[in-house]
Subunit: 204 residues, 2 copies
């Protein structure tokens, strides 16, 4: 936690409770302020606006998520493909469960994504550095070798984009999504056909 004893931290905690109980749009700045025993106006000494409080909450939450991704990315005793798999599965499960059993959090994510598109890019970029770390580690271990890891990481994110956007999940269950992600991963790791021997156009 960034600091529950600071004023800013108190505000974030109060807002977190309200947002997860009643939803983002149904909680007012006045309510959050009163929970902190202060006036609405005073909130603005700590945050530019309501959305920024939500962003702070989301950032804190995402930071924790990043921690578990980092652990998975560098877990000892596992092959690089396996770690990549674990990482992307964790990502999928997190998104799925947020949608399933925490519609409030999902509302917040939606509002932020809509109002602050750069936030989604920031998250992708953060996650990408973890992917790059994984690729670098895999290269050190002799598991693979590729020139531009930043680029490869970006392409992995691009190819798995579907699993980050519940709107694209047309009613699919989590197991179904996992099977699909598994298939995409196999495609990425092995290429279209593991047994293919024929023409490989030079990688640009």
């Amino acid at each position: 936690m960034s600091g529950k004893d600071t004023v800013r931290g108190k505000i974030v905690e109060a807002a977190k409770k309200r947002f997860s109980h009643f939803g983002y749009s149904k909680t007012t700045m006045a309510e959050v302020a009163s929970d902190c025993a202060m006036s609405p106006g005073n909130l603005y000494r700590f945050f530019p606006g309501k959305l920024d409080i939500a962003e702070a909450i989301a950032t804190e939450d995402f930071e924790g998520h990043l921690d578990s991704l980092r652990k998975l990315a560098l877990a000892p005793g596992k092959s690089a493909p396996q770690r990549l798999r674990d990482l992307l599965f964790e990502e999928l499960r997190r998104t799925y469960h947020k949608l399933e059993k925490d519609p409030r959090a999902y509302e917040m994510a939606t509002v932020i994504a809509h109002e602050r598109p750069e936030f989604a890019n920031w998250m992708l970029a953060k996650e990408r550095t973890i992917l790059v770390n994984l690729l670098e580690d895999a290269e050190r271990g002799g598991e693979l070798r590729c020139a531009d890891k930043e680029h490869v990481a970006e392409m992995i994110q691009s190819a798995t984009m579907k699993f980050r956007y519940p709107q694209l999940w047309s009613k699919l269950s989590l197991p179904a999504l996992e099977r699909e992600l598994d298939g995409v991963l196999k495609l990425m790791i092995n290429g279209v056909c593991p047994n293919a021997a024929a023409n490989k156009p030079a990688a640009a």
Copy 2:
């Protein structure tokens, strides 16, 4: 064309003109009916509702698109990866240009996608059979060999999902999108690293 001389065809033609001139929501059933010199009520003998007229137009249009995809998928004198690339690029360009210079058609696509989710699935399935054809042809030509082509086609679609949904394109230009699609394709065709020699877990 399904038949410009049939009554149904006349309705589709009239609606197409209206929809592309003024947009789907701004054209009324009464107008379409009057263009066909008939009463509003009579439209319902040929279509269950307004949306179904839009769907008929979209279907007709998509059928044409499928034709050009089929040509690209089986174009002689080109490698399978090249044909796959051509096909997916064509798909991307079509979507992009619809968004760019044909906001009316884009409105229709949005309404249909929202109101008739199964239509999008139908389009994906149609396109998938073309991908399967391409894979089968590639196998005949000895370019690749894989067990479940239907499955591989599904995974290709999954990995390129981003390029079908403009909402995910955060302001990217067409060339930028093309570069990205190119990267994803290379990943799928060659695997994460073309030079990788190490562990390949058995494909399930």
